[in-house]
């Protein structure tokens, strides 16, 4: 590495991640950027559900009290934030950030960048009419099949609008659906003035983003190799990258924190959610993960170099949430002796009752937790002396009525089924609405002209 490095720290790996992490990233050592990734495929569906109940909701609400705690430090030290906390309501999120800034007396001292234009729901019929059929990337079905069930539709934006927001002086950049990796790429391109068509630089920044986008999952969390030897996870050090102008970077964490940054911890994160490693496609370019070189430089310091990439494609991915149906999961616990056999008998009885009631389901799935829930038949025959087995039975249907009735069939098993049963104190299972994910591709030329960057002043 040569020249000045910039330090980009991961503060959240998903919506619901450890709330102390961003605080410790800001106060535990020098950083230039705090990167806060909140969005997974499922998250957009959940936010959409919340927004349909309350138009002011639809973003990662946790972000606001967090900003309230951190803004004084951020402003004081000039640390900038990139975050997709905006979810399906980035404007609501940005305004809430401005609200807490004013409350903290930071009026006139904070600029918030708002990136919008990813939301294509208002334009959906127009786009379909123009021949963009938004086929499901997995099944090939055209979106027209489920058009009236669509709840949200967002294109994954790349780094460009975030780079613009940073260039225009935004200290906190709030976006809707941008790619996780773009949140890390944007600071690099802004700081180093890289050419967005320098594909190796795009690929390098993408790899950096992928390594830190799941928070501590690259710094000792969920690490299988030598998991017993990972120390200090009561205070896990979230990862940060020290990026250099040549495209290489070091993955590390603050001194005095727990966890580990090793070739093993970084490799496990690199392969997480991987498809074809030669073409990791983002809106900004295509990274080739088979070119990545890793080297342990020192304790908790891994150098990443050699990353190559190729040009961006002319398509953007679109994440569509649609109303699918209903599901519910019920559980009961059976104790030794013959716990598994009792649970199995209960399952048989329950299924017969559901059938007798004439209830129709798309799926009825039984798992025996303690015997086969995670590895199925690979786990081998159940332990005849298991101290307990949890019967876990789930149903899914397009209609609500059969799922609703199912939720009333669990508790009766306690007095009308096999013995030694417990664990039903939680009450009846809840009927859940299933909002499903529909990934599609769209021509980027119909999205990009609609992307807007606004700078809002506290």
């Amino acid at each position: 590495m040569t020249g000045r490095a910039i330090r980009i720290a991961a503060g959240q790996g998903f919506w619901g991640d450890w709330l102390e992490a961003p605080i410790r990233q800001v106060r535990g050592g020098p950083i230039d950027y705090l990167m806060m990734d909140y969005l997974a495929e499922v998250t957009m569906s959940i936010m959409q559900k919340q927004k349909s109940r309350d138009p002011a909701a639809g973003y990662a609400r946790d972000f606001i009290p967090l900003m309230e705690r951190l803004l004084p430090d951020l402003v004081e030290q000039g640390i900038r934030v990139t975050s997709n906390a905006g979810g399906v309501n980035p404007r609501g999120c940005a305004e809430a950030v401005l609200g807490v800034a004013r409350k903290l007396g930071l009026g006139g001292r904070l600029r918030v960048g708002l990136v919008s234009g990813d939301d294509i729901l208002p334009r959906l019929d127009e786009l379909l009419a123009q021949g963009h059929d938004l086929r499901d990337m997995e099944t090939g079905r055209p979106l027209a099949d489920i058009r009236d069930q669509v709840l949200s539709a967002n294109a994954y934006l790349g780094m460009a609008p975030m780079v613009e927001a940073l260039q225009r002086g935004a200290q906190v950049v709030v976006t809707g659906r941008v790619t996780d990796t773009g949140l890390t790429l944007a600071p690099m391109f802004h700081e180093f003035g890289w050419d967005p068509n320098d594909w190796d630089k795009v690929a390098a920044g993408t790899v950096a983003g992928h390594i830190i986008e799941c928070g501590a999952q690259s710094s000792g969390g969920n690490l299988l190799k030598g998991w017993r030897t990972v120390r200090g996870m009561e205070n896990p050090g979230f990862p940060l990258v020290e990026a250099a102008a040549d495209g290489s970077f070091v993955v590390t964490k603050h001194p005095g924190t727990g966890g580990v940054v090793s070739v093993a911890s970084v490799t496990e994160q690199l392969v997480y959610e991987m498809g074809d490693p030669r073409s990791y496609i983002t809106p900004d370019g295509v990274a080739d993960f088979t070119t990545i070189r890793l080297r342990q430089l020192a304790k908790d310091r891994v150098l990443v170099s050699g990353v190559r990439g190729g040009p961006r494609t002319d398509k953007l991915k679109v994440s569509i949430a649609w109303f699918y149906g209903y599901k519910a999961v019920g559980t009961l616990v059976y104790s030794w002796p013959e716990a598994y056999d009792k649970a199995k008998a209960a399952d048989r009885i329950l299924r017969a009752r559901l059938k007798d009631l004439g209830l129709e389901f798309e799926q009825v799935l039984t798992e025996f937790v303690g015997a086969d829930a995670t590895h199925g038949p690979l786990a081998g025959p159940p332990n005849p002396d298991a101290p307990e087995i949890q019967l876990r039975i789930g149903v899914r249907a397009r209609d609500k009525a059969p799922v609703e009735r199912f939720t009333r069939e669990i508790a009766p098993l306690v007095l009308t089924g096999p013995p030694s049963v417990t664990g039903f104190a939680g009450g009846r299972p809840q009927v859940e609405e299933v909002v499903a994910y529909w990934p599609a591709l769209i021509d980027r030329r119909v999205i990009e002209p609609h992307v807007r960057v606004e700078i809002l002043e506290a």
């Binding site: 495929e41 499922v42 569906s45 990337m137 997995e138 969920n222 299988l224 190799k225 030598g226 998991w227 017993r228 030897t229 093993a264 490799t267 496990e268 994160q269 690199l270 392969v271 997480y272 959610e273 991987m274 498809g275 074809d276 490693p277 030669r278 993960f289 088979t290 070119t291 990545i292 070189r293 890793l294 699918y324 599901k327 999961v329 799926q363 799935l365 798992e367 937790v369 829930a373 995670t374 590895h375 199925g376 038949p377 690979l378 876990r392 789930g394 149903v395 899914r396 299933v434 909002v435 499903a436 994910y437 990934p439």
Partner: protein, 119 residues
């Protein structure tokens, strides 16, 4: 010729898995870089499909010699995936360890050393 014995992958590799829709991926990483080639030869897509049988659909494999790793895509493995799935492991997080149950034939000297080395 060394005597060949079956050895579970847990002694030769570590792994992490994730999801994309109804597909689970498993990244299988050699614990000892010297064993990457053994994994590459023995842990084929066809063998992995045989291991999982009806738990998964089509299996694809990609090689990452730079990371001493293989990446497997297990299609149709998640009961619809994401929010649709009724599975405990709806997002395929522990297909990784399910793959580590698989046995491959290795020279007994390799097996003995690998068993000792795994924490």
């Amino acid at each position: 010729m060394p005597r060949m014995v079956p050895l579970q992958l847990r002694y030769l590799a570590h792994a992490r898995s994730g999801d994309k829709g109804n597909t689970a991926n498993v990244g299988l990483i050699a614990l000892d870089p010297g064993h990457y080639d053994l994994l590459r030869r023995q842990v084929t897509a066809a063998r992995v499909k045989r291991h999982f049988r009806r738990m998964v659909g089509r299996v694809e494999r990609f090689e990452l010699p730079n990371l001493n790793a293989l990446n497997f895509l297990l299609h149709d493995a998640l009961d619809g995936g994401g929010t649709i799935s009724l599975k405990t492991d709806a997002q395929g997080k522990v297909y990784s360890t399910a793959l580590l149950r698989m046995e491959i034939p290795v020279p007994d000297t390799v097996a003995r050393r690998a068993r000792k080395g795994t924490p």
